[in-house]
């Protein structure tokens, strides 16, 4: 069952098209990574899912209910951590957590206390004096202490230190074991790679890539370092070869995964002395899609 189903959603702010015909679905029990550069439309997509923004065209369903009309009902089963956590400045962290939980009719429990310990938060301080990371902890604790089935987390680790980041990832995997569904928007590719089952990449309001991490790796390029007996003078012209650099007889280049077979045949005919390959990382994928120069090259 799709927990989140976004169908051809377009969102206009005046003349500006913030989201352009976006479709994606998140299945029950998976951790879905949502990545993209600043201003690409990640938060706008998420805010539309929450019924805070009304789609100009298209439809969003959460738990098979309309995200705009049935927002209140849907939110009984959902927990959200905003990218920019803003809290009432003169409430303490502890008060805020209790208050946020009460907005979902949840009584403060031992779970909450355990989370406060785990995230090492001082709940007696006023929100005014919290750093970004501490405000994020407040929102994370309030979300994780709820009994939601779906967690929507918008760049939740941007202000956390590495120790807390690890705590966060542990909790994500625990939730996954419990069968919860998680939408994680992030800049940290290592994090997405570590925990996500599937990802979607958004750029300038459009989804430009989506699929499982495995599928993504197929789409991407691997980095090869090769030394051959016969010189490879014509390598830069081979199909699927990018960014090739030569030092004496050693070539370093990027190769489209789909051309791996043909290139390997050609290479072995020249007599391979050394071959190193680095698996494609999301990092490369990210850079390839986000670098405006490279991206426009691609389209030509």
């Amino acid at each position: 069952m799709s927990v989140i189903k976004v169908q051809q959603v377009t969102k206009m702010f005046g003349d500006f098209k913030a989201l352009d015909d976006i479709s994606l679905s998140v299945e029950a029990g998976e951790i879905f990574g949502f990545i993209g550069p600043n201003g690409a439309g990640k938060s706008t997509t998420i805010r539309t899912m929450l019924g805070l923004l009304k789609p100009t065209f298209g439809q969003i369903q959460l738990f098979e209910k309309d995200a705009w009309k049935d927002a209140v009902t849907i939110h009984q089963r959902l927990a959200y951590v905003p990218g920019d956590v803003n809290l009432w400045p003169n409430l303490t962290g502890g008060e805020t957590i209790d208050l946020l939980l009460s907005m979902q009719d949840i009584k403060p429990s031992a779970k909450k206390e355990a989370l406060i310990k785990r995230f090492d938060l001082d709940p007696t301080k006023k929100a005014r004096s919290y750093s970004k990371g501490n405000r994020q902890k407040v929102a994370l604790i309030a979300a994780f202490a709820s009994d939601a089935d779906l967690f929507i987390l918008d760049e939740p680790t941007a202000g956390l230190d590495p120790l807390m980041e690890r705590v966060f990832q542990e909790i994500l995997l625990e939730l996954k074991k419990e069968g919860k569904t998680i939408l994680l928007s992030s800049h940290l590719l290592a994090e997405v790679e570590k925990v996500c089952d599937r990802v979607a990449i958004i750029r300038q309001g459009k989804i430009i890539e989506k699929g499982s991490l495995e599928e993504m790796r197929h789409l991407t390029r691997m980095k090869l370092i090769v030394e051959t007996r016969e010189p490879l003078t014509d390598l830069p012209e081979w199909e699927g070869v990018h960014d090739s650099k030569r030092s004496e007889n050693t070539w370093t280049f990027y190769l489209d995964a789909i051309h791996l077979d043909t290139v390997m045949r050609k290479l072995s005919s020249r007599g391979i002395l050394k071959l190193e390959s680095t698996p494609p990382s999301l990092e490369d994928l990210f850079l390839r899609h986000y670098d405006p120069v490279q991206a426009s090259d691609e389209e030509v």
Binding site: L78, P82, W88, T92, L99
Partner: protein, 533 residues
């Protein structure tokens, strides 16, 4: 020392860029209000005897408490009447401008973290405070010159260049003093709200001791800057000394602000926060809990201010009584109309105080937009809270607060008047005269709900509307505003309940209008995007 001020110019550019619209709107409205009022006074073409009548009314202690000492009847020119009616309230408006501008130039930018960014640049410690102080000074100089010039050109009977410029200087220097006071309080309080509430409280305090001093004991008035403002006797004796004193004290206050600024950390105040609770109380978790917790400070501050003002006006009622029975001149002039003078004063006073009652209620609703812009509402609407619920909670708090403040205001007025007067004013008439304003106050609340719900970009219009309502209440009758203009003010329809029998129809119509406005606001609010800045 010089290095401490390095970058002042840069900081000024930043501040001007951020606040230029706000500053221009304030300047234009303040200068415009003085010029328009003066022009309207000129068009009154009163006969000498009418002017004499007004002069006599101004002598009565209640009016003295409200507006400051009256001008001598024998030298009561049109210009004197203008100063009598306009000077104190315009000076207070200038003070409000100064308080709001200075608090946003100083503590607000610090609280929001913008100052941190500036201070990380090669910019001196004092640059930002110096820039804010300079800009507000510049605005006040412009205010003085522009007001002075526009009055000088209009030249009512009794105005010359010297006195017109003095009038402008009085308004601006009074405002500037409160700007300086705000700069000091910005060093003491950690939040913008603390700074503005503190500054307004001090202003109210000075207004009240001037009121009491002007009626009972002049020495007391000399402890209030507002007392000096009205003692310049502009358009009659034209004393410039009060301007120099105001400017001198303001300079001292600015020095104090710099001195305290030097020795504190960024974002810290001289009064700082205590540790708070680990857990939310059941009060905070109750439906109205959060809103009441967030708003109690400003509701209490405004409510107390309004009630205190009512009480002190009640306290001068016996002076009015004595005045009416003792002054044979007045009795001859008014005939048996002493009673009417009392009722007119009560109705005017309640109209003005009702505007003050409406202000905190309107602010409770405007906070809903502020919370949205700051992103607090993302926490709320991503949970099982509907928009209608949140709006209706705010509406309910605003409505209850206005009812309570208005009731206490009327009771405190009646209570002090009752305890001091020989022939007390009627309880039932006083209460119905005060409560008759409630439906009109609800219209202001409804209008705010409509703007917040359906037209969030235009919420500032509610302040423009309240400004208009106040101007109509205060001057509409005197300056003979055309009927159709006056009919835009909700307060215009409030029946005179003290002098007349109460007519219910307008009250019902106003109530229905208030509900309609709020309902439309709710419809709009459910349909629109929730967007933080």
């Amino acid at each position: 020392m010089k290095r401490s001020f390095k970058g002042t110019k840069l900081a000024m550019t930043v501040l001007v860029r951020q606040h230029r619209v706000q500053a221009v709107v304030w300047l234009v409205s303040l200068v415009g209000a003085s010029a328009a009022a003066a022009a309207a006074f000129e068009g009154l073409s009163q006969t000498g005897i009418e002017l004499l009548g007004i002069a006599a009314v101004m002598q009565n202690p209640a009016m003295v408490a409200m507006l400051g000492p009256a001008y001598p009847v024998e030298r009561y020119t049109l210009a004197a009447q203008f100063a009598n009616e306009m000077l104190l309230f315009t000076a207070i408006a200038a003070a409000v401008m100064n308080i709001l501008l200075v608090s946003s130039f100083t503590r607000h930018d610090e609280e929001e973290g913008r100052l941190e960014l500036i201070r990380s640049l090669p910019v001196g410690r004092f640059a930002y405070l110096a820039a804010g102080s300079l800009i507000v000074t510049l605005i006040d100089v412009l205010l003085a010159v522009m007001t002075g010039l526009s009055l000088g050109f209009l030249g009512l009977d009794g105005m010359d260049w010297n006195s017109s410029l003095l009038y402008g200087a009085l308004i601006a220097s009074t405002g500037w003093l409160f700007g300086a006071l705000t700069a000091v309080l910005s060093q003491i309080f950690e939040t913008t709200r603390g700074v503005t509430i503190g500054s307004f409280a001090v202003m109210l305090f000075f207004y009240l001791i001037r009121s009491i001093g002007d009626v009972l004991n002049e020495t007391l008035s000399y402890f209030s800057p507002l007392g000096w403002t009205v003692r310049a006797n502009v358009f009659d004796q034209n004393h410039w000394q009060p301007v120099f004193i105001l400017v001198g004290i303001a300079l001292l206050l600015f020095c104090l602000a710099f001195f305290w600024n030097r020795n504190r950390d960024l974002c810290a105040g001289l009064l700082s926060d205590r540790k708070g609770k680990r857990q939310a109380s059941s009060f905070l978790l109750s439906p109205l809990g959060l809103t009441l917790r967030l708003e109690k400070g400003s509701l209490l501050a405004w409510g107390t201010g309004t009630i205190l003002m009512a009480a002190s006006f009640g306290a001068v009622m016996n002076e009015l009584e004595t005045y009416l029975t003792e002054t044979t001149f007045i009795q001859a002039f008014l005939g048996g109309e002493g009673e009417q003078m009392t009722s007119q004063f009560i109705e005017l006073l309640f109209a003005i105080l009702s505007v003050f009652t409406a202000v905190p209620a309107v602010m409770v609703l405007l906070k809903l937009k502020k919370e949205e812009k700051r992103g607090y509402l993302d926490n709320v609407y991503s949970r099982t809270v509907s928009r209608s619920r949140q709006l209706s909670i705010r509406l309910f708090v605003a409505w209850m607060a206005s009812n309570l403040i208005q009731l206490l205001m009327v009771l405190s007025y009646w209570g002090t008047a009752q305890s001091l007067m020989e022939q007390p004013i009627s309880f039932s008439k006083t209460v119905s005269a005060g409560l008759a304003y409630l439906p009109a106050i609800w219209v202001l609340i409804g209008l705010t709900a409509l703007l917040v719900g359906a037209m969030p970009k235009g919420t500032v219009l509610v302040w423009a509307y309240i400004g208009f309502v106040f101007a109509d209440v205060y001057l509409g009758e005197l300056l003979k505003f055309p009927e159709w203009v006056r009919s835009f003010s909700a307060f215009y329809f409030v029946p005179a309940a003290y002098s007349d029998t109460l007519s219910w129809l307008p009250l019902i119509v106003l109530t229905v209008a208030a509900f309609l406005l709020a309902g439309l606001g709710d419809v709009g609010y459910r349909k629109r995007d929730i967007l933080p800045d």
